[in-house]
Symmetry: C2
Subunit: 349 residues, 2 copies
Amino acid sequence: MTVTATQKVRLLLIGVGNVGRRFLDLLVRKRDTLCDRLGLELTLTGVADTSGVAIRPSGLDAQQVVQLKVEGQGVAAYPRWGQSGVSAFEMVRTTEADLLLEASPANLEDGQPGLSCIEAALSRGMHVVTANKAPLVLAFPRLLDLSRVHGVRLCFDATVAGGLPAVNLGRRDLAAADIHRLEGILNLTTNYILTRMAQDGLSYDEALAQAQAAGHAEADPRLDVEGWDAASKLVILAHSVLDYPATLAEVAVEGITHVSAETLQQAAAEGKRVKPVATAERDGEHYALSVRPTWLEADHPLAQLGPKQMGIVYHTDISGVISAAIVEETPLPTASALLRDVVDIVSSQ
Amino acid sequence: MTVTATQKVRLLLIGVGNVGRRFLDLLVRKRDTLCDRLGLELTLTGVADTSGVAIRPSGLDAQQVVQLKVEGQGVAAYPRWGQSGVSAFEMVRTTEADLLLEASPANLEDGQPGLSCIEAALSRGMHVVTANKAPLVLAFPRLLDLSRVHGVRLCFDATVAGGLPAVNLGRRDLAAADIHRLEGILNLTTNYILTRMAQDGLSYDEALAQAQAAGHAEADPRLDVEGWDAASKLVILAHSVLDYPATLAEVAVEGITHVSAETLQQAAAEGKRVKPVATAERDGEHYALSVRPTWLEADHPLAQLGPKQMGIVYHTDISGVISAAIVEETPLPTASALLRDVVDIVSSQ
């Protein structure tokens, strides 16, 4: 890429939780790298959380936003530029920016408020980078059309398998290939639980408690352990990589809550491993989609993944079988996937 | 990507060996996919091999070129449009095209004739996609500068680890990350030999003969088994992914010819595997580069690769540890990496 002058990019961020906060950390930590290596100057002009917004056209101090969150406050408390009672949607609708980052929690009921914010941003000619799965799961074709109509990009590498570029690998590197089978361990919590149960003899409850203590599982882990988080990611891969307009309702979903220590021992005795696998298998013009605990041969690429890993396998017609995996100790790699998409968008302009 | 009208792209191809021929197969096989899915119409306007050239501004029949090679003839025999005694360089210098594909054999002595052809193409404002390592190993900074000066792209995903997007993964998806360690099995022949020796008890000579019979090893396998092929790929990764201007001379290279069955047995007895690993390890402002048979723990991502696999591991500061691998039964995936780069270039215009 040609680095001539510094390119200034104005960002809006919605959501300052685990991922959003680490993205702000990255803005600070990578400021010099982005400028020197890539010729980019990223400026945070607006940020929203449940407390309200902080908007400053000349740029907010990302470190100060993080500090507020560390102290248990919301962004509305940002000195001078913070405002309570203003919604993320209002911020997107009225603030000048080049790119919206959506990192608010996934709401699989109606996708809100992320969905409306993404629509508003695209309609105003902003690029969108999202870590929020729900708007994509519920409205992928509409959002993609909207981005095309307005000539902007919609990127979402951070929605699937954390910091692993699973979406990018499929969407970009396999654009001319046909994928007849896709398999993935797309949810960290369930792989952590089954792997710790199998490797360390923990009970389900013990493994879940440790996953929560390590920050890998939510306080309410149902979306994870019942398989819906992985199913959502599979739907996003189906739309974006397989060009198959899947719905969440058509995914055959089975959680891990009923997997017993005996089952895991029996699998090990047969030289196999039980892993939480999301699968898309071509069947004529369609794909059959499923998420379930799956017995894998020990030499399967996904069988070997440890408790802090996620991975994906693409079985293709012209590019062989390509597998990829990530070791993800914290949500930092997921935040780095947001930065990856930002860099990709602004570098290819 | 916005697909509005069909985008026509004129290609020149140099080299119609294992990879070049399969690329031509892909042009035929993927014609409809490229048109329908990506809005691309790729036209082969010129092709060169050691026999001469065939040039036709309105497009050659890729299938007919393949047929000539299958019959043991060169492209100079192409009816009406073939010419003997004309060099690839002359073709590049005088033929109108949008993109040059360079798939001639690597000549690590002086990079020719590929190097001059790539320089000529970039200088004429053509994008370049190469599967030929030598010009990059010998002149990476100069070629990259040339591409920038002329506002065109230079892509080379096919030069490293066959059809695995190892270069793209590092260059694009880790653009903002720092990589403190990179490990790869970048050469198929040596991994095939060591893996077959260890798994199936073959002698070195038996394993080499089988690699040659299966088309994985050249008749003259010295570049492979003495480590220089992998070292060349490591130099390309250093320049492109690590932003470190390595030379082939600084890579500590050790081949696999002295690895004995006893060594492999001893490793197995200790629960380890011996693999041909290329490594770049950060040391202050520099990287220490090596290619050598390496004892790996059994759970190392590269230890588990089978005889027809290559792989790479990136240890990063912000994106965790990312590994990727490919099963490559034939050179088809390598040819697909050429097509991947072509699609990437013309889709992002």
